[in-house]
């Protein structure tokens, strides 16, 4: 029995690998369910029903998937160029903070101007935040993993400072939250009386744009080459630092948009519990999609199903909804194992 490098990956396998990983993760999640002494089948049925069982459930899942598509794309774009941006969470919050700052009526403009402005400025804020670790990496050789991770904490404290200080909602009855977004800056609902907003369309468009960029453009060509071998890319004459910088900015902007969507599309104001770790879950989404842009959309939907469904299941039978995090984390690890199957072939002799 031995491993051989595959010469090509059949399409069926490229689909089967992540699917197998997800199935394996769900099977492993049966262990804690058995521990909780609940019926595994019931639990999964409840998760499924909670996420997809009704019109409301589906819209809830779609709205949860929206930020995950953005953060998943942010991670996918960066990781493909071997830029380890683990700062999606911080970039999301800085985007959200910007949206809250601009969108709470500081300036009164019609929504045709306000909405694009909120989006652009939020993306810009995320990009600028990612600029710092990227430049530190390129100029001084500082490992971006640690800097992006630590900046997440800094940003969260900064957001906390702002919404307890200058941006605190005077009508908020003392709660640490920003003033609500004005109507002109609010992203329209996609389906009335649900939580699905235009952000979902924007996220899907972003996915398509990233896909086109990666596969068809010079920027994507450069990013892929730099990620696969920065030495060969440099030797061939590619401007490696500029490529990295561009990738960092795009990645940060995408994560920033996730924050804008949550504030301007979903919640309407900024709090410290805006994101239950969307930045980190985005990494799982990206890996499940094997860093490909279009599959990110599907992977984000899967992760959203798990989260929304687990919440429902948790309320129904009392198993902690941390089960969702457990499933998502496990599926990242099982996906890594599955990636071996796409790279190697097990040959029995």
């Amino acid at each position: 029995m031995r491993l051989e490098t595959r010469t090509r990956v059949p399409l069926a396998l490229a689909i089967a690998a992540p699917a197998g990983a997800v199935v394996l993760a769900l099977l492993l999640a049966a262990i804690p369910l058995l521990w909780a002494e609940v019926s595994v089948v019931d639990a999964y049925v409840l998760i499924f029903k909670g996420a997809l069982g009704s019109r409301l459930a589906i819209t809830e899942t779609l709205s949860r998937a929206t930020p995950l598509i953005f953060t998943g794309l942010a991670a996918a774009v960066a990781f493909r160029a071997k830029l380890w941006n683990i700062g999606g969470e911080g970039q999301l919050y800085i985007g959200a903070l910007t949206a809250a700052a601009v969108g709470t009526g500081a300036i009164a403009l019609p929504s045709a101007v306000m909405i694009p402005m909120v989006l652009v400025l939020g993306a810009l804020a995320g990009a600028l935040l990612m600029l710092v670790p990227t430049l530190l990496k390129l100029r001084l050789g500082v490992d971006e993993v640690v800097t992006t991770l630590l900046l997440n904490f800094v940003v969260l404290l900064f957001v906390s400072m702002m919404i307890e200080g200058p941006m605190k909602d005077p009508m908020g009855m003392g709660w640490p939250q920003s003033a609500p977004i004005v109507d002109e800056a609010t992203l329209p609902k996609l389906i009335a009386r649900t939580r699905v907003h235009v952000g979902l369309i924007l996220a899907i468009l972003a996915g398509i744009a990233v896909w086109v960029m990666t596969q068809r453009t010079i920027w994507g060509f450069e990013a892929r080459a730099v990620g696969a071998s920065s030495a060969a890319a440099r030797f061939a004459g590619m401007p490696v630092p500029r490529v990295m910088l561009r990738v960092g900015l795009i990645s940060g902007a995408l994560a920033g948009l996730a924050g804008v969507g949550e504030v301007a599309g979903l919640k309407g104001y900024l709090t410290l519990d805006l994101s239950p770790g969307f930045g980190y879950s985005g990494i799982v989404v990206a890996m499940l999609a094997q860093l490909n842009a279009l599959p990110v959309i599907v992977a984000a939907l899967f992760v959203a199903v798990v989260f929304v469904g687990a919440d429902f299941m948790s309320r129904a039978i009392g198993v902690s909804n941390y089960l969702a995090n457990l499933v998502v984390a496990t599926s990242l690890l099982t996906m890594l194992l599955a990636s071996l199957a796409t790279r190697y072939r097990l040959r029995l002799r």
């Binding site: 010469t7 010079i218 060509f221 080459a225 696969a228 071998s229 030495a231 060969a232 030797f235 004459g237």
Partner: protein, 523 residues
């Protein structure tokens, strides 16, 4: 098969029987039999890709053979089967190996590298004193001297090789395997190595000497086993054969002789004037290097690796900027330090480490063929890659340069070394460069591919290109170069017409003698 064979006749210390190893469809070793006698030097001759290294990796336990067995004499002389797939079993059986690429940890001293793994990992304290005593005795006995307390990083290549041999001897190796040991040595260092080896076999050591260099095999060994395409094709007494016969056996056909046609050099294209490049530890990597490269000319750069070749190559590839000095191309100053700038200036670059710098393994063949050109209008429009045009170009290049691959979409990492080199040649030469830098262009290639590389370079020379050829292979340099210069510790000698230099003279210059002394001493 009984565990312990009857006492072997004629003092055989190592016997391979029917060793077969397959990698997928490729049979790297096919039913190989081999015997080594005590106190003998056996040469294992074969061109790159013939299966020599695979065989030795099986012997040393890095790979597990699919079939066959390895028998090693124990100290009593009885042949015992060797457990496969375990370097420690090989070490315990008295097999020592000196790899072509040294296996030394740079952060440790020579001493620590030698005692690494020789004491139980669960000992509370390393016993350094007795180890030291034993090593001192060994160095006295074998004549291999090194500064044991020096960090590996500061030792020369020759010194590192001595550390490697000491490592094996310290472990009580009775069989020493040397994989291409002379590839990185000057001719004089090679002579010194051979003296040491003869000294060691006189003391009872048995040696397998792996090489593809005929002259060395002829001079050092008593027996030669020739491998071709994974199988033993000849097992000869060295004195009863000659280099020409060995060459033919090794290749399996008459070797095409590469002939460099006479050609009058044209005008100067590339001129380096007193170029200094800073290096590590405050020592200059290149100091006051000057050279003039003309059209229709191949300028060979000889030297032991680590003497400034990297700096010279990086300079011309645009990866490094000089501290002082000028580089002019067609009498105009070149903007240095930008690979893209060098490509645009018409310089073709063939990197030393083709898999690391030359190609992006995970990208398709067509993408690698466009790697230097993707921004040119031919392959790009309004920021989008013209995939069709790039693929069409790739198909032409694959055919024109005989790159063996499933097609333009194939992942480049799956190509063999020779085909990767052909891909790089295709990328470089289809641009009709007027200056070519070829750094170790034939290293690790089989003879067919080497001939092809040489033919392409000579063809480019014929078209009017000037070529700087950096190589550790003196035969290659003497065959291809119109003039040869020697690099030693960052100093580049005057380029001498190839007809006027001898191997011996080059060797002395590679060891640091200046041109006149070397010429005098060599005479």
């Amino acid at each position: 098969m009984t565990a312990t064979e009857a006492r072997a006749p004629e003092d055989i210390v190592l016997r391979l029987r029917g060793i077969t190893k397959r990698f997928g469809a490729l049979v790297a070793n096919n039913a190989i039999d081999l015997e080594l006698r005590r106190g003998a030097i056996l040469a294992l001759l074969g061109e790159n890709g013939a299966g020599k290294t695979t065989l030795m990796n099986i012997l040393f336990g890095h790979y597990l053979a699919d079939e066959g067995e390895v028998l090693v004499a124990d100290p009593g002389g009885a042949l015992t089967p060797l457990r496969g797939g375990s370097p420690s079993a090989a070490l315990a059986a008295g097999i020592g190996m000196v790899h072509q690429h040294f296996t030394l940890a740079d952060n440790l001293t020579a001493f620590d590298n030698i005692i690494l793994g020789t004491q139980s990992l669960f000992r509370p304290w390393a016993d350094r004193r007795s180890a030291r005593r034993k090593l001192d005795e060994l160095m006295d006995g074998s004549g291999l001297r090194v500064d044991l307390d020096a960090a590996i990083g500061v030792l020369s290549v020759g010194e590192r090789q001595r550390v490697e041999i000491l490592k094996a001897l310290y472990r009580g190796a009775r069989i020493l395997i040397l994989d291409e040991p002379t590839a990185v040595l000057t001719p004089q260092e090679t002579d010194r190595l051979f003296e040491t080896l003869h000294h060691l076999v006189a003391q009872g050591l048995s040696i397998v000497f792996i090489s593809h260099k005929l002259a060395e095999v002829m001079s050092v060994s008593q027996r030669v086993v020739v491998l071709r395409a994974g199988a033993v094709v000849a097992d000869l007494i060295t004195d009863e054969t000659d280099a020409a016969h060995l060459a033919e056996t090794m290749v399996g056909r008459a070797i095409p002789q590469t002939v460099r046609p006479e050609m009058a050099p044209g005008e100067a294209i590339l001129v380096l004037d007193k170029v200094c490049v800073p290096g590590a530890h405050g020592r200059p990597a290149l100091s006051d290097a000057s050279l003039t490269l003309r059209q229709h000319e191949i300028l060979g750069i000889a030297g032991v690796s680590g003497n400034g070749q990297v700096a010279l190559s990086n300079l011309i590839c645009g990866l490094q900027t000089p501290e002082s000095g000028t580089v002019t191309l067609h009498e105009q100053a070149v903007a240095l330090g930008s690979p893209a700038g060098m490509v645009a200036a018409g310089i073709g670059r063939i990197p030393e480490d083709r898999l690391h710098d030359g190609v992006v393994g995970d990208m398709a063949v067509w993408e690698n063929l466009a790697l230097e050109d993707y921004r040119s209008p031919a392959f790009c429009q309004a920021g989008f890659i013209r995939g069709g045009a790039a693929r069409a170009h790739a198909r032409r290049a694959i055919e024109g340069f005989d790159v063996r691959c499933p097609g333009p979409e194939a992942a480049t990492r799956l190509l063999s070394g020779g085909n990767v080199q052909k891909l790089i040649l295709a990328r470089v030469l289809t641009r009709d460069p007027n200056v070519i830098l070829a750094n170790q262009p034939s290293r690790g290639l089989d003879i067919g591919a080497v001939t092809e590389v040489h033919r392409r370079l000579l063809e480019a020379r014929g078209r009017g290109a000037g070529i700087i050829l950096i190589s550790e292979d003196l035969d290659e340099l003497l065959t291809l170069s119109d003039r040869i210069a020697v690099l030693h510790r960052g100093h580049l000698s005057q380029a001498m017409p190839t007809e006027s230099v001898t191997i011996r003279q080059l060797g002395l210059m590679m060891a640091g003698h200046d041109t006149e002394t070397a010429a005098h001493d060599a005479a």
